[in-house]
């Protein structure tokens, strides 16, 4: 009886989800309500969690509550600590959720809401959540070993080195592109700049507070910090209202880029208690608070999606970034659907905290579903804007021109309605001079969030819109800055790990010259790409975001290769398609996108074609639009070739890791290789009940 009831209930959930998808796909002309998108997502997640993650937990891994976890076996009160699964869930979610799932879906909205929504929802259930879950379960069975170590142990040394280089590469591109997003959000915005700049002394103050004034009172300090952030928000508005001060804090894009590099260098060299840790605590709270707030806001407002299901730009002519819907929607949205970076978290702190093996299902699979929901919310916020406003904010200046009039004309040419007055009114409402060509996704998301928050809390007044807009910008920038500073520090350690083979003392992590050299080198690496993005006449996002997507999916390929190898070595080859199918899909997407980015004859899309077009233009005696001098043109050509080389490196890395893995699979299946899986043998939990 109960079984029948449950069956009926799950059938109803599945039917609701399918119905919601039909509404989304078939609606034409009339705006669809966001409720349908939410319903489609939540029903699919529920069915995926209940059935597919259960299948993986029971059939593929046979997760066993009676088996000791590393947290129990190796408990040391420091890293290995058995922890309540909901706390680990929160911890894991706070670690995986970053700006990625906010920015990607916003950019991909140029294709309309449907392609992004389908990829986020289907991709997470069959790909992203599977990857996180499989890697977490594998790492739990291997004393919490990292992805790199597992790649070396299971696939071989070549796989291990490739994974290491891939991680370094992804860090460089990731930090550069996130830096570019910050620059575009704060460029010529004294309010935003002052607010974000003030978060740095706030973090320093909290660091000092926690060290000397009230040691260990982390929550108290964080509460003070949150109050100070609100103060910073108001201070930013005050500065923007004082003409003299406002000019002082109106920074150019390149000025902001240099400031970020200096900040990254400082964060990498300064002790962590002073800057990184307090800032991290602060941003973890703000992050969870805003995500919950955004979910509630969307639920209360349930905005109509004013972006059409599909725009004409699925043919690759879109202004936000170049390329057709296949493969570029799958590259643009990485986080939220499948993000290789999560494999580092799932094999980092999290596996050392699990109290019971089966908790991996909630934390790995469930945690990623939650991040996917964040991506859906971001997509809703972006698509709640009218398409005209969306493209005015997200298209580069080469497509729009510099004035509201030229922008409105260009957007009308694409078939969307917007008036110059609308654009300047909106800019004034949110307290900015202009919102035109603020590429990178953060500002249009902030406008969407400001709209949703102010509607949810009654009435869209100008004051409310402006405060919410800058709150959203501050929140996103805080997010981005946290990745930038912690990432620079991690990158510095990774570089030192490599440099020690050149000269041993360079590997010493507390020797100032070595620390300084490695930090400067790493900052120079991402700084180069950031600066290139800032000065790129095509807007920078167009070249850097796809590179980031490709590198993230490369890491996901590494993770899925490791997962497949482990499943095969467990003697469960018949279940290998669980990770093999998403892997095949990712390889297809990645290879196609990488190939197009390098070799496409379209100068907007292909790096080499763009380099050629600039060279030809200079040879013909005139400079392309947006290029100031012959020297600048030469730099662009150099950067195009560098980008092509980076993309080629990522593609070669995919091929190497897949080939190495496939060789290992064949050897294992043919019985030629000993199944030398590194899984820790089963050890039952000591006298399960009552024992500590």
């Amino acid at each position: 009886m109960r079984k029948t009831l449950a069956g009926i209930m799950w059938a109803a959930v599945a039917a609701t989800g399918a119905g919601a998808f039909a509404m989304l796909a078939l609606a034409r002309g009339e705006p669809v309500n966001a409720a349908w998108l939410l319903a489609a997502a939540l029903c699919t997640y529920a069915v995926g969690y209940r059935f597919y993650s259960r299948f993986i937990a029971h059939r593929v891994f046979a997760l066993d509550a009676a088996r000791e976890t590393p947290a129990e076996r190796l408990e040391d009160g420091r890293d290995y600590v058995p922890t309540n699964r909901w706390i680990v869930f929160g911890h894991h979610f706070a670690a995986i959720a970053g700006p990625g799932p906010l920015v990607g879906p916003t950019l991909a909205a140029q294709f309309g809401f449907l392609p992004g929504a389908l990829w986020i929802i289907v991709g997470v259930v069959l790909g992203g959540a599977v990857q996180d879950f499989v890697i977490l379960a594998a790492s739990v069975r291997r004393d919490g070993r990292s992805l790199g170590q597992m790649a070396r142990d299971e696939i071989g040394p070549v796989g291990g080195v490739t994974a290491l280089l891939a991680v370094l590469g992804i860090m460089v591109i990731l930090i550069a592109v996130l830096g570019l997003v910050i620059v575009n959000a704060l460029r010529a915005s004294p309010w935003g700049t002052v607010t974000l700049a003030l978060t740095i002394p706030i973090a320093l103050f909290l660091g000092v507070y926690l060290r000397w004034l009230r040691p260990q009172r982390v929550l108290e300090a964080t509460a003070i910090g949150v109050a100070m952030l609100i103060g910073a928000l108001l201070a930013g508005r005050w500065v923007a209202d004082q003409p003299a001060l406002a000019t002082l804090f109106t920074l150019s894009a390149s000025g902001l880029a240099w400031s970020l590099m200096i900040y990254g260098l400082a964060a990498s060299v300064l002790p962590v208690w002073l800057l990184l840790a307090p800032r991290d605590y602060l941003s973890a709270f703000v992050k969870i608070g805003v995500v919950v707030g955004l979910a509630l806001g969307v639920l209360v407002v349930l905005p109509p999606l004013r972006m059409p299901a599909l725009t004409p730009f699925i043919d690759g002519t879109g202004p936000v970034f170049a390329g057709r819907v296949f493969p570029f929607v799958f590259i643009t949205i990485a986080c939220g659907a499948i993000s290789g970076f999560h494999a580092l978290i799932a094999s980092g702190t999290t596996p050392k905290l699990l109290a019971r093996e089966p908790d991996a299902r909630l934390i790995g699979y469930g945690g990623m579903l939650t991040e996917s929901l964040v991506a859906v919310l971001a997509l809703i916020a972006a698509c709640a804007l009218t398409p005209g406003v969306y493209f005015a904010i997200n298209a580069p200046v080469t497509a729009l021109g510099a004035t509201a009039e030229s922008a409105a004309a260009a957007i009308r040419g694409w078939g969307f309605v917007v008036t110059p007055a609308e654009l300047s009114t909106l800019a004034r409402q949110v307290g900015e001079h202009t919102l035109l060509s603020r590429t990178g996704g953060a500002p249009s998301l902030a406008v969407g969030m400001a709209y949703i928050f102010s509607r949810a809390l009654g009435g869209v007044s100008d004051t409310a819109m402006a405060l919410w807009y800058h709150f959203a910008i501050m929140f996103e920038a805080l997010f981005l800055l946290t990745v930038l500073d912690a990432g620079t520090r991690v990158g510095r350690f990774m570089l030192q790990d490599i440099l020690k083979y050149v000269w041993a003392p360079l590997g010493r992590v507390s020797w100032y010259p070595a620390v300084g050299i490695a930090s400067a080198l790493f900052v120079a690496m991402w700084g180069h790409f950031l600066y290139q993005g800032v000065t790129d006449p095509l807007g920078g996002i167009n070249s850097l975001w796809p590179l980031f997507g490709i590198s993230n999916q490369l890491l996901a390929s590494v993770a899925l290769c490791v997962g497949t190898t482990i499943i095969i070595k467990m003697g469960k080859a018949r279940y290998a398609p669980v990770t093999l199918l998403p892997l095949v899909w990712l390889i297809t997407v990645n290879m196609t996108a990488g190939w197009l980015k390098i070799f496409s004859p379209d100068p907007r899309l292909g790096f080499l074609a763009h380099a050629r077009s600039v060279t030809d233009a200079v040879a013909a005696g005139h400079l392309p639009a947006g290029v100031a001098s012959a020297a600048a043109a030469a730099r662009i050509v150099f950067n195009d070739r560098l980008d092509a080389a980076v993309a080629a490196f990522f593609l070669v890395a995919v091929i190497v890791i897949v080939a190495e893995s496939a060789r290992e699979w064949v050897r294992t299946l043919r019985g030629r290789a000993v199944r030398r899986s590194t899984e820790v043998p089963f050890h039952p939990r000591a006298a399960a009940v009552g024992a500590d």
């Binding site: 408990e75 040391d76 009160g77 420091r78 890293d79 600590v81 922890t83 706390i87 929160g90 911890h91 706070a94 670690a95 995986i96 959720a97 970053g98 700006p99 990625g100 990292s146 991680v167 860090m171 990731l174 996130l178 040691p215 260990q216 982390v218 929550l219 964080t222 962590v272 208690w273 990184l276 840790a277 991290d280 605590y281 973890a284 709270f285 969870i288 986080c335 993000s339 970076f341 999560h342 580092l344 978290i345 094999s347 980092g348 702190t349 946290t482 990745v483 912690a486 990432g487 520090r489 991690v490 350690f493 990774m494 992590v509 993230n552 500590d692």
Partner: protein, 71 residues
């Protein structure tokens, strides 16, 4: 009546401290008490690290490898 009030205050206090514990664990604050308790139970011969040193070292370890933060 009075004891009931006192019980409520005690319950609120316990709830508050539990909530603090959850928040601290979620954002990844090192738990010194737990470390000392573990050492007392399993390695009574070892002297625990002083609190400040423990906190500093845990923090340092958290930021020297990928795996604590994502995009």
């Amino acid at each position: 009546m009075r004891s009931r009030g006192r019980r409520m205050v005690a319950a609120l206090r316990a709830g508050g401290s539990a909530l603090r514990g959850v928040c601290a664990a979620v954002i990844g604050v090192p738990d010194y008490e737990r470390y000392v308790a573990h050492l007392r139970r399993h390695h009574p011969d070892q002297a625990p690290q002083p609190r400040a040193e423990f906190a500093r070292e845990q923090m340092r370890r958290r930021y020297d490898r990928p795996g604590s933060r994502c995009c």
